[in-house]
Symmetry: C2
Subunit: 177 residues, 2 copies
């Protein structure tokens, strides 16, 4: 699955990038000159993992300590076992969470944040809380969009959208390239 990227290992070899994704930088002695806006940059894969609905919910849930598999499943209502299993495996592979198996009566598997994963929890938590705090605003915007198509602030799209930042419409070069 990731092999499609790994085939291009001449581009991205073990954390050191060669040509693209940082352009004019020197090759040696670099640490994190990745550019997530560049295609085939490994940061895209991380972003794909981290910018995921289930992943952020899982990471948020693990904030208060290790949690068992079925515990997470019951906490995040609606998640399927398959998706939970897959997401946990990916997060573990990326070093964000750890997996510990205990030979208890029925087997116990605990998932916990790694130090690396813990550096993300604040952002993740903010994201989750943002959704809860701004839910009403989003719902209002959706209603406004669906009925009437007239935005809250703009009277009409093409009529005369004299936005503050767009004042000099005449002689305005679209800053192409």
């Amino acid at each position: 699955m990731r092999s499609g990227y790994l085939k291009e290992s001449t581009f991205w070899s073990h954390g050191f990038l060669l040509e693209t994704c940082m352009g004019q930088q020197a090759i040696t002695t670099m640490q994190h000159d990745y550019d997530v806006y560049e295609d085939r940059c490994p940061t895209r894969l991380v972003l794909d993992r981290v910018a995921d609905k289930w992943a952020v919910l899982i990471l948020d849930r693990l904030q208060d300590g290790p949690v068992r598999f079925n515990h997470i499943r019951r906490a995040i209502k609606g998640i399927s076992q398959k998706v939970l299993s897959q997401t946990l495996k990916k997060l573990e592979r990326d070093g964000l969470i750890s997996r510990a198996v205990f030979a208890t009566v029925p087997v116990t598997v605990e998932y916990a944040l790694t130090p690396l994963g813990r550096t993300l929890t604040e952002t993740v938590s903010t994201l989750v809380h943002w959704a809860e705090r701004n839910m009403d605003a989003v719902l209002a915007a959706q209603r406004s969009y669906d009925e009437g198509r007239v935005a809250v602030e703009t009277p009409g799209p093409s009529t005369a959208p004299l936005r503050a930042e767009m004042a000099p419409r005449v002689g305005f070069e679209p800053t192409t390239k």
Copy 2:
């Protein structure tokens, strides 16, 4: 697509929740007692929108002011027109960005953050920068996972995981499978 949720409109009616998702709270005079851990909670939809690779890249790109369609497309290398168009439309519907059409020589369409969307940019930017900053650590974790299966930091996952929720295990040992 969203009709599956809207069919349950007795549950979620216009921003006010009735039974689930807040349980023992009063129905009237509530503002944001949403629970993203509850299934069929509208916050799940917002999280689905916001916790998306392309959406965070777009929001991050719009931080410095309005950007045209093809400008975004060229900036976020690898994004397809279809996905860009779809994501922009969804973000606009949710009130995170605005769309302004100008009747210029070739038509100009500018996308910009709304005040609501601007409240997310810091978190989004953090997420993107996290990916760039911790890329090497993730790559190292992936290698460690793929070859050997032994975690970098933990020889045995949580040597003494005596957590409150865990039943007292007799002679437990983290069998790393």
